[in-house]
């Protein structure tokens, strides 16, 4: 089920909220209802995949329970390994099997061994990258002794499957919601609900009014990449830069809003990333819950920056490559990871040696430029597409005879306007409207306009990861 669908907004959400708050006195029944609702939400697309969600939940819950009952380090290690192997195995099978077979075939063909492996056509279950990471954080945090095991299977199942963040994050750690799950509020906190409305409506507008509008003018030009020239190619790249941000930040804001409707506070996932003045700052502001996951569960365990500059750079590079692969099974994602790894390493090496401070405006433009080049790889469905697009933005496909016709066209002006908005306005976390008539009616009209546009159903970009 999509947040931007009639069935979700008109039926599912009102029903779940009515039951959730109506059953205020019976916390276990509420949690059971939430789990059932979340499985329904997830299974709406392919009910078969709910078994994967269930399997991941059961394995990690019982692994966690067993870990809590033993203090023997080697047994705890084995239990952690069970969780890692099952979660990463599941992710590996569904996400990377086809890519691996294809890559191996390519390699063997290069050495004239033919292509002996059949490439499996496996449908990727939505959100698998997100919920496997969530369950992993639970097992690892338990292993480290940072959290207590979930109070019951129902508590844990509700944490893993909670529909607002199930498909595309934010990646919520058990420690983020542990206390909130234990002490469920009986009655709605109207201030929290009002904040939820703000986040939900802003997120929906980001998705429907900005991301989808930009996509509708950008996608046609990308479908005909060969004919794109210099300005057209940059216009398409800028369009995708805006589309991706508004699409994903929109989803995150909606998830946060929905969490608030249920009385849960989820962590912030975006903090105006295009205002970043350097690449390190960008990664602190873009998909913040993934960045902190990579930092706490990969970078720091690998040694972080504790063993000198070069080890730190190596670790950064490895983490970013793995981050790239997490996003998708394809060489373009690997390259995207390498590219950002190199940027972060360069930044870390250069920042102390520069004899002058870079003005923030230049830093912001430079960072955006680098990020956009990265998005070119991210958006490309093949290395060939990335190459063609790179040729076009460097002018190798030629220059437009009438550049003004591109500059004053919707595909260029719309993303430019959205980018200016990103730079000049506060984000949804920085600004909260006053609780008055104007804001209530204004947000209702905004949501109404979005609902009217649900007929052009469009999934979120991050569903594919």
């Amino acid at each position: 089920m999509l947040f931007n669908s009639y069935i979700f907004v008109l039926v599912f959400l009102p029903a779940v909220l009515a039951l959730w708050w109506g059953l205020g006195r019976w916390p276990m029944i509420r949690l059971a209802m939430l789990v059932f609702g979340s499985y329904l939400f997830y299974g709406w697309w392919h009910w078969e995949f709910t078994f994967l969600l269930l399997a991941s939940t059961l394995v990690d819950y019982y692994v966690g329970l067993a870990m809590a009952y033993t203090s023997r380090p080697e047994r705890r290690k084995i239990l952690l390994a069970v969780s890692l192997v099952s979660n990463l195995g599941m992710l590996g099978y569904f996400k990377y099997c086809g890519f691996l077979a294809q890559s191996l075939n390519g390699l063997l063909e290069t050495f004239r061994f033919g292509a002996p492996l059949s490439v499996p056509d496996i449908l990727l279950p939505a959100g698998i990258s997100f919920y496997t990471f969530q369950t992993l954080t639970y097992s690892i945090d338990l292993y480290r002794g940072q959290i207590q095991p979930a109070r019951s299977l129902l508590h844990f199942a509700a944490y893993v499957s909670m529909f607002p963040q199930l498909i595309a994050g934010p990646i919520v750690r058990y420690s983020d919601v542990e206390l909130q799950m234990q002490y469920l509020p009986r009655r709605p906190d109207w201030d929290q609900i009002a904040r939820g409305i703000w986040f939900f409506v802003i997120g929906m507008s980001q998705k429907i009014l900005v991301a989808d509008s930009v996509a509708s003018v950008t996608n046609p030009s990308l479908a005909d990449l060969d004919s794109l020239q210099f300005l057209g190619a940059w216009s398409a790249l800028l369009g995708y830069t805006i589309q991706l941000y508004f699409d994903f930040a929109g989803y995150s804001n909606m998830a946060i809003g929905l969490g608030l409707f249920l009385g849960f506070e989820f962590p912030q996932n975006f903090d105006s990333p295009y205002k970043s003045t350097n690449i390190q700052q960008f990664w602190r502001r873009w998909h913040m819950t993934l960045s902190s996951f990579l930092r706490d569960y990969l970078y720091i365990p690998m040694g972080g920056s504790r063993f000198g500059k070069w080890i730190s750079c190596r670790n950064l590079l490895i983490v970013m490559i793995l981050g790239g692969i997490w996003h998708g099974a394809g060489w373009t994602f690997v390259l995207w990871g390498v590219f950002h790894g190199v940027l972060l390493v360069s930044h870390s090496l250069l920042r102390e040696r520069l004899p002058f401070a870079i003005p923030s405006a230049i830093g912001m433009l430079g960072t955006l430029f680098c990020v956009m080049i990265g998005w070119l790889l991210f958006r490309s469905t093949s290395l060939e597409m990335a190459w063609q697009w790179s040729l076009a933005i460097t002018g190798c496909h030629g220059f437009e005879r009438n550049p003004l016709s591109i500059i004053f066209s919707t595909p260029f002006l719309l993303p430019c306007g959205a980018l200016l908005f990103c730079w000049l306005s506060p984000n949804a976390w920085e600004y909260q409207p006053r609780r008055n008539w104007v804001s209530a009616i204004g947000l209702a009209i905004l949501l109404l306009v979005c609902i009217l546009r649900f007929d052009a159903e469009s999934p979120f970009l991050y569903f594919q990861f």
């Binding site: 009639y6 009002a194 609780r435 947000l443 109404l448 009217l452 007929d455």
Partner: protein, 363 residues
Amino acid sequence: MGLFHHFLPHLFRTNPSLGFVVLFLGSLVTGLAGIGTFNGWVNPYGQYGEGLLPTVVQDSRTEKTDLFENLTRKPEGLILGSSRTMKFESSYLEEKTSLPFFNYGVNHGRPEDFLAILRLYHERYGSLPKMVVMGVDIAALNDKIPADARLSSEPRLFRHIQAEIPWYEEFDRFSQLITMHQTKSSLRSMARYLSGRSRCSDSCSEIVFDPDGVIQYTKRQAEISQGSYDFEGPLRFNQHELQAVFSNFDTLSKTRKAYLQEAILFCESQGCDVYLFTTVHHPRLRDYLRERTKFLDREREAVRWLKQLAAANNVRFVDFGDVEQFDGEAVLFVDGIHPLEANTRRMIDRLLTEPSGDRYALQ
């Protein structure tokens, strides 16, 4: 008035957040109800039964059912399908089979339409025709597309299938009342009505159905014969429309497969010969879709399944997806999906020479 003078101001004073939530929800529900009521009242596409105003578009289900009910001679053959089959000439089929035919192809005709039409025929004549020519669009097997709303607004057909339509498809029909597309059409329609013009746009007069159900594209055919027809515009429209359909088309709809199977079993039980085929795509449209969507995968999957269905029920089946299958010509199209008579005649010739379905069982 008390709501605005007393209740809400009091609520905003005592608990601004609660006042905000109440006003937000109240405004939203009022807005949705208002727009839904307005669109239902104007009913620009005739999807919600008899509206207060006439519809702005033609509804082929209603028109064909009117024609069918007015037939003086019992048709012994039926042509079922979408608008892509509307150029299958009843007279040409009669010439080839000596059976009188009626073309019951309807816009976005899908297996549920076929079943409803066959049941309507059976109700009227107490048996099925001797022969049914059934064109299946691959796109119609998309599990994400609900039954066409125009089917449910034609009671003479819908009552034959209503019990089998899943509830969520009915929900989809009513949720269309609050879409931007519907609202824009309602506003346009109202503007035309209020300015004293016909609510039907120019396209209404461009398409005419003969008494035997065959379509005549009056304006387009005239332009084609004058050499002034712009083929590119309609082709681009098909490209974008079908790109959207095939981009999210992951599996064949189980419900549609069941409807088609039921339609064929119904025919078999009544001794009616079925000639099944997949409808054609213009070569440029095929290329376009092949490069950008999962079109080829779904086409292969659909053809494989249809072959199995044909073999199991002794039905003749031909895959006409590509013009080469029937020696068709790319210039003989109105757009990317609608072939002209010269092409449909070749399809009929090819179809009628096809051996019966057990051929596939041997492969």
